[in-house]
Amino acid sequence: MRLNEWQLAFENYLLSDAVEAPSSWVTSLQGGPTLDVSGGLAIYHNAYRGRLLEALRGDYPALVYWVGDAEFEQWAVAYIRQCPSAHFSLRWFGAGFAGFLSGYLDQQQAAPLVEMATLEWAFTLAFDAPSRQPLTCEEMTALPASAWPDLQVELVPSAQWVECRFNTLMLWQAYKAGESFVPSEGIEAMEVCLIWRSGQVCQYRSLGVEEASALQGMNRGWSFAQLCSALEVTHEEGAALQAVTWFKDWLSLGFLNRRTL
């Protein structure tokens, strides 16, 4: 058997559900005095699944906490079967888990669980995203008043934007606090959970629809003057004050960069 054929048989064995290997391939292997071929192969077979399962558990701890080990493992095994790893680093194995769940589970069951998976993956992305010093209040104070109308900002590279239609953030907070989960339920108005990294620590902030819309506008290229104009529709003469209030808040949280052309 050529090297390539032998490896293909090994790979097929690891990916298959059966711990028993095809006899045609087993004859190309030898065991030891007390560890026979089937025992040796089982070690590799179990390790393959165990390693991927552990990676998923590490990426989605709130989901495990929510649905329990047994149910999570059932989904994970299906994911491992359907979406074998394509990246050299295990860090990326769980990237498609939310998408997988949305197709694997029935739609009604899936929506809040997919939202939780999306939220957890967003934290993973923020955790090791590129670092960039955020714009500070001090830098803004030094800006001449004449520069404010044309000022443009964007979110820091680690920022992740997750739109929540369920009380997912509350459930995630319960997991972090080690508290019992409240029932999952839809929320009246969609909220955005903004996640970013400050220093080496991930932070998050829940944004209502209006604030999220304002921040999204800025991130897409609005100037400060355009932000004020957009807010005039609802805030009339208080638009500039609202814009400044939010702006100061965003700066103090440290998730803005000056937009560079």
Partner: protein, 281 residues
């Protein structure tokens, strides 16, 4: 600290669990070894601590995903990222494993055994030369633990490693624990393995723990180094003299002091060998 070769020197595997004690205590560790893939990211905590620790200690890069014996083409995107990390960290050397970890279609995330045949030897030697050309430095390859062997083997594992160093110019990372694990599982003499390797090609040693199930042994890296492995290490040092040695722990992380105690023990064994050799000289 000057980034000279840690030979001889005693190092620890850098794991996130130990970032704080390392920076707070500046322990008497000669160098740290990183798992390269854990730092092939764009930012965040891992890179932050690595850069802080690399300012104080020499660093060695140890990969798990090169898949030097794999059936696929070499992954040059992986190699580009590896080289980029090396430019950032300035490692003393770069190592990986004599194994395959990626199949024809998928990443398998394990250090899988190879048939030790002429075909494998020439295939792998060619790939090692390509990697060395790309990285601009010798590659150091580690022997892996194994649980099955190919019945088509034409070489022992140690003869294969020897031949590979000659054909490709690579050097060796001898994992003493892996030799012990494979010897138990396959029924060979671990000392025959170690004593047959070309001494001048052994750049580094690994020490780690395993799980012993009686009939077989699994290389789990989650236990203290066992007495038989210490004994084999001592015998290895007597043959080779002190060689850069690393204590590896990848799970069930004990307090940092516990790993330091293993490092101190390795250092003491190395010093005893030096003293004996100087007395005999």
């Amino acid at each position: 600290m000057q980034k000279n070769l840690p030979r001889p020197g005693y190092g620890l595997g850098l794991r996130s669990e130990y970032y704080q004690p390392i920076l707070e205590q500046s322990p008497a560790v000669d160098w740290f070894e990183i798992i390269s893939e854990n730092y092939m990211v764009e930012g965040g905590k891992a890179l932050f601590y690595l850069e802080a620790i690399a300012e104080q200690y020499p660093v060695v890069m140890h990969g798990v995903s090169l898949s030097i014996g794999g059936p696929h083409g070499l992954d040059f995107e992986y190699l580009r990222q590896l080289k980029k990390l090396a430019e950032r960290v300035q490692p003393v050397w770069i190592s990986d494993h004599l194994c395959w970890s990626r199949g024809n279609a998928h990443q398998l995330h394990d250090l899988l055994p190879l048939p030790y045949t002429e075909e494998s030897l020439h295939y792998i030697a060619g790939r090692v030369r390509q990697v060395q050309d790309f990285l601009g430095r010798p590659l150091i390859l580690e022997n892996v633990s194994s649980y099955v062997r190919s019945s088509a083997d034409e070489f022992t594992e140690w003869a294969f490693l020897d031949a590979l160093t000659q054909l490709s110019g690579c050097e060796l990372l001898l994992d003493v624990n892996n030799v012990y694990v494979s010897a138990r599982n396959h029924g060979f003499d671990p000392w025959e393995f170690i004593s047959s390797l070309p001494a001048e090609k052994i750049r580094q040693l690994h020490l780690a723990g395993h799980s012993d199930y009686g009939d077989y042994v699994i290389d789990t890296h989650d236990q203290p180094i066992s007495d038989p492995v210490w004994a084999l290490y001592q015998k290895t040092l007597e043959r080779l003299g002190p060689v850069a040695t690393l204590i590896e722990r990848d799970d069930h992380y004990p307090p940092f002091e516990t790993l330091m105690a293993e490092l101190i023990k390795a250092r003491q064994l190395g010093q005893q060998v030096v003293e004996r050799k100087s007395l005999c000289a």
